[in-house]
Amino acid sequence: MEPSSNIIEVNDLRTSFFTEEAEVKAVDGVSFSVPSGKTLGIVGESGSGKSITSLSIMRLIQEPGQIVGGEINFKSDNLLDKSESEMRRIRGNEISMIFQEPMTSLNPVFTVGDQISEAYRIHQGLSKKQALQKSLEMLELVGIPSPKDRLKRYPHELSGGMRQRVMIAIALACKPELLIADEPTTALDVTIQAQILRLINNLQDELGMSVVLITHDLGVVAETCDYVAVMYAGKIVEYADVQTLFESPKHPYTVGLLSSLPRHDIDQEELQVIKGMVPSPTNMPEGCRFAPRCPFATDLCKEQLPTLDDLEDGNQVRCWVYSDKWDGDPEVNVKDDYGTATSS
């Protein structure tokens, strides 16, 4: 793999929401890149800023939100420098997006066929008839039974799983190079989730596209992604390839998250917990944002924000434990000591 062939590179992205009282920094200096043809998973709990990150890439942030800084380099062009009409040519054509709620993400008053063909008509200037023909092929591709009949259906006549397939058909209609999937299976049952994930995976291979998968489900990440970025309170706290991340998680948050997850495939005595709760975006802690919940936190953590640094084994971690400045127990091993640290 050539290291330079990243389809997209996000540098120091900052997106804020401006309320009457304050600026809420939903995404606060996020950087990552997606190697061509690969899948990057962005995981985080609610309020971590993962969805806002994805909408920022599409430049679909609505009032009172605003991208306040950073770069989004897509194929060596900075998307933040593009005009709105240039951006429109990219959306749905070179970069596409699917969303969490298949029930509400399709327009209820247009047929499935209308909604898929619109993409062809905008980006490829096809006639209505040609566009419908292409839409039909697309419905077949995403595995919808009796596609000819479904073309004339309205969204409410389809099940959740079928609607998500239609969403995928719309997104992939113009064979984009990058697909952003924002919690695409969260609203679906597990057996349907398995279908949709497999479909995205197969189509990724077939079309050779790159995928950014936003999710809160660590299982989904482990099964579908090549690289993982863990977000917490508007920042990336850890980035690694999927093997490394799950085998040797470094950041206390990642470790805590993994050990608080009840699993169906192995027995666990008691779940480790991360104490407390996600800080309010209007009231962020000063130093490391995880410090108030972190069992290892020292004064340094509470005062200064660590940077996202490269480690030897390929992880990038935003944690003082791994720096020269660390003022706590020098012998500490986050992964092994997490349980004992929380109970004390």
Partner: protein, 298 residues
């Protein structure tokens, strides 16, 4: 959604009652809403005028002065005089309380009856619901003012009958809104939770449903004041409501109509008074709706 945690502010001091707390919040939101404040101040102004206005006016609303008939607005008679030489400004001031009284009592009657019907219908459902809602449909089949007209034509034209008529045509409006809200609240898990605790229907309705549907009722009642005042003045204008020489605004307007050609002020001012008071309730109702709507951020 971001989870918000609120910092401990007052661990020791005794907390205010929930109702007070809530009202404070609504008030804070209202204060930010300029239109609502304008509406609220206007309403307050009209209420004050209706109480102390009659004392302050220099003229007797019924004092006739044929030497000073149909005078145009001037320093003494700000709004001019009518065909009996009565001061129109004084008459409008005296009419304020009548207007507010009609609006308030008809809305009160209509909202109480409508709320009872709506809650019973929404909470118990099934047959009761079907029967009550079909009856409401029948009432709604008569365009508002026509229903009021029919009622007044039966009972005869008087202030009291206008109130009854306007109240009756408000009932189905409230019943429908309350029924819809009741159905929505009834589905919420906290209602199931108190049912699961063994709460009686009475408790569920009065402690858990009614307080949580008050917002739409209050908003509707405020907006309905506007409608009621318009309807009542319309009936008086048609000669079927308050009868002369009562200084009711619609009635004054009705008489002023005969002198439009030469004395436009006669019909202008009572109409303006109606516009302003109706506008006040509409403004305030809109503001209340925004303030009470949990969806709008405060």
């Amino acid at each position: 959604m971001a989870e918000t945690s609120v910092k401990t502010q007052q661990a020791e001091t005794k907390p205010p009652s929930p109702q007070l707390e809530n009202m404070k919040k609504v008030y804070k939101k209202l204060k930010k809403n300029k239109t609502a404040m304008v509406g609220g101040i206007l309403i307050l102004f009209f209420i004050i005028v209706s109480i102390i206005g009659p004392v302050l006016t220099p003229f007797d609303p019924d004092a006739q002065d044929y030497t000073n008939r149909l005078a145009s607005p001037n320093a003494d008679n700000w709004f001019g005089t009518d065909h009996h030489g009565r001061d129109i400004f004084t008459r409008i001031i005296h009419g304020t309380s009548i207007t507010l009284y009609i609006g308030f009592s008809s809305v009160l009657l209509g909202s109480v009856a409508g709320t009872v019907i709506g809650i019973v219908s929404g909470y118990y459902g099934k047959k009761i619901d079907a029967i009550l809602m079909r009856s409401m449909d029948v009432l709604l089949a008569f365009p508002g003012i026509l229903l009021a007209l029919a009622i007044v034509s039966i009972l005869g034209g008087s202030l009291q009958n206008v109130i009854i008529a306007v109240a009756v045509f408000s009932i189905p409006v409230f019943a429908r809104i309350v029924r819809g809200s009741t159905l929505a609240v009834k589905k919420l898990e906290y209602v199931d939770a108190v049912r699961a605790l063994g709460a009686s229907d009475f408790r569920i309705i009065f402690r858990h449903i009614l307080p949580n549907i008050m917002s739409p009722i209050i908003v509707q009642a405020t907006l309905r004041m506007a409608t009621a005042i318009l309807a009542a003045s319309g009936l008086s204008f048609l000669g079927l409501g308050a009868q002369p020489p009562t200084p009711e605004w619609g009635a004054i307007l009705s008489q002023g109509r005969n002198y439009m050609w030469d004395d436009p002020h006669y019909a202008l001012f009572p109409g303006l008074a109606i516009v302003v008071v109706v506008l006040a309730f509409n403004l305030f109702g809109d503001g209340l709706r925004d303030a009470l709507d949990p969806k709008t951020k405060g």
